[in-house]
């Protein structure tokens, strides 16, 4: 445990991070193919970037990867809470400091000297992803089993509303991933840290 202090990301964070990344890629790309079977917006997702080939294949991928997302996500949250990391790394949240950090980030002056310390933008973004993922799972449950989860279904406004919520939560997650990857490209040390732990 002594060299734990040198670690930016403990092993369980790195493992759950990469497993989650894989699950998200499979779920998003197969989900796009499922959306294409009956789009409710005026656009379809280009077939080339979807997974599954046809609706049945996409559903099989989607309903396999969902277990990975949920299982891995529960392990992540449990470790995060039990270890106290959740409170240590992501709180307190300060709206004022958040705005200051957003401004600094836009000006390219946000410090990344200490990767073990999350600035307010990071805290807010990572917490958002956690909440958004929970929403994705809950709305997905309503789509999969709308009759068997009546309370959840009514909370989300019914089956058709859950379809839109599931899509918008996906769009938010994909937007996060795009910004996340851009940030990693700007500060490549963060990628090393997520692989080696330091």
């Amino acid at each position: 445990m002594a060299n734990d202090t040198d670690l930016i990301h403990p092993l369980w964070v790195r493992l759950t991070h990469w497993i989650n990344a894989l699950a998200i890629v499979v779920l998003a790309t197969s989900g796009w193919r499922i959306y294409d079977a009956s789009p409710f917006f005026a656009f379809a997702i280009p077939r080339e970037i979807t997974l599954g080939g046809w609706l049945g294949g996409a559903i099989q991928w989607h309903f396999a990867a969902m277990w990975v997302l949920v299982g891995n996500g529960l392990i992540y949250l449990a470790c995060n809470i039990v270890s106290g990391r959740l409170w240590r790394k992501f709180f307190p949240l300060s709206p004022r400091a958040f705005l200051a950090d957003v401004l600094a980030a836009v000006k390219g002056r946000l410090s990344h000297v200490d990767l073990s310390h999350y600035n307010m933008v990071q805290r807010a973004a990572y917490l958002f992803v956690m909440v958004d993922s929970v929403l994705l799972v809950l709305s997905g449950l309503v789509l999969w089993k709308s009759v068997q989860f009546p309370i959840l279904r009514e909370l989300l406004g019914g089956y058709e509303a859950a379809r839109r919520e599931h899509f918008l939560a996906m769009a938010a997650l994909v937007a996060f991933a795009a910004i996340h990857l851009l940030m990693v490209a700007l500060v490549p040390r963060t990628l090393l840290a997520m692989i080696r732990g330091r």
């Binding site: 599954g52 099989q60 396999a64 089993k145 068997q148």
Partner: protein
């Protein structure tokens, strides 16, 4: 030594399947119906997983099918035989209610009422073939429920007919059997689990919106289950059989989840 010819045989089987499905999809001009095997790995990046060889494709396909079978079990476990799907007022019925089948509207089957007989076979005491008049003489009920398609869209419709549980009891079906299978006049076939067959909202429907079921919605009868996705609801039913042997289904055999519950 035994393994090799077996594997060779399996690959031949795949080729035969490929040819057959190619032929079918060409004839029906519906590109969505090529075999799952050919298409499940078309995404550029993720096709790396497969190494693009037939054997690897099969193993990925098998893994996904295994998860799908696992999902059948989870759904059977989640299924509450007493939990009802929501019902809606007349004003919320989707008009016109969409037509949906594995073929186009120009191929809708027309079944003759006079010569029609419903075959009932398998693990049942009374195997006599039913006329429509006999079915209409049984106590009827109706319900307005949401039809959810595997494609994602949903529509609200009004179906009336005989509660399937009372029909199964009337023919003396073995209610401990695992499956109820259906064969249809449009060559569609599917099968369901016994708990869903006995669900209070599972109806052997003879009417749509208080009128005799029109051909486009499956004359003379459709099994309507608001607890299952659309493809589990067979139309133009000609034969019902109770069995412990997994009967599969038209879409299920191509990769749709068998339980297909909602």
């Amino acid at each position: 030594m035994i393994k090799k010819p077996f594997r060779q045989l399996a690959i031949d089987g795949d080729l035969v399947l490929k040819d057959a499905t190619k032929e079918i999809s060409r004839r029906l001009d519906q590109p969505t119906r090529r075999a799952f095997l050919q298409r499940s790995l078309s995404l550029g990046g993720l096709s790396l997983l497969s190494g693009c060889s037939l054997v690897d494709d099969s193993s990925v396909e098998n893994a996904l099918m295994t998860v799908s079978r696992f999902n059948d079990k989870v759904q059977a476990w989640l299924f509450d035989p007493n939990r009802l799907a929501p019902t809606y007022p007349d004003s919320m019925i989707t008009r016109p209610f969409p037509f949906n089948a594995y073929y186009g509207e120009d191929e809708i089957r027309h079944v003759e009422e006079e010569s029609y007989r419903l075959e009932v076979t398998g693990m049942v005491a009374d195997k006599h073939a039913w006329t429509l008049a006999e079915l209409r003489a049984m106590p009827q009920t109706d319900q307005i429920t949401r039809h959810i398609c595997v494609e994602g869209w949903s529509a609200i419709g009004k179906w009336g007919g005989v509660p399937f549980a009372s029909f199964l009891r009337r023919v003396g079906a073995d209610l401990s059997a695992q499956y109820v299978g259906f064969k249809c006049a449009d060559d569609y076939y599917t099968s369901i689990d016994m708990p869903t067959a006995l669900h209070p909202q599972t109806l052997l429907t003879l009417t749509y919106d208080s009128q005799p079921l029109p051909p486009r919605y499956g004359f003379p009868m459709k099994l309507r289950m608001p607890t299952k996705l659309g493809y589990k609801n067979p139309k133009h039913i000609q034969a019902i059989f109770v069995t412990n042997t997994y009967p599969g289904g038209y879409w299920e055999d191509q990769g749709y989840n068998w339980f297909g519950g909602s």
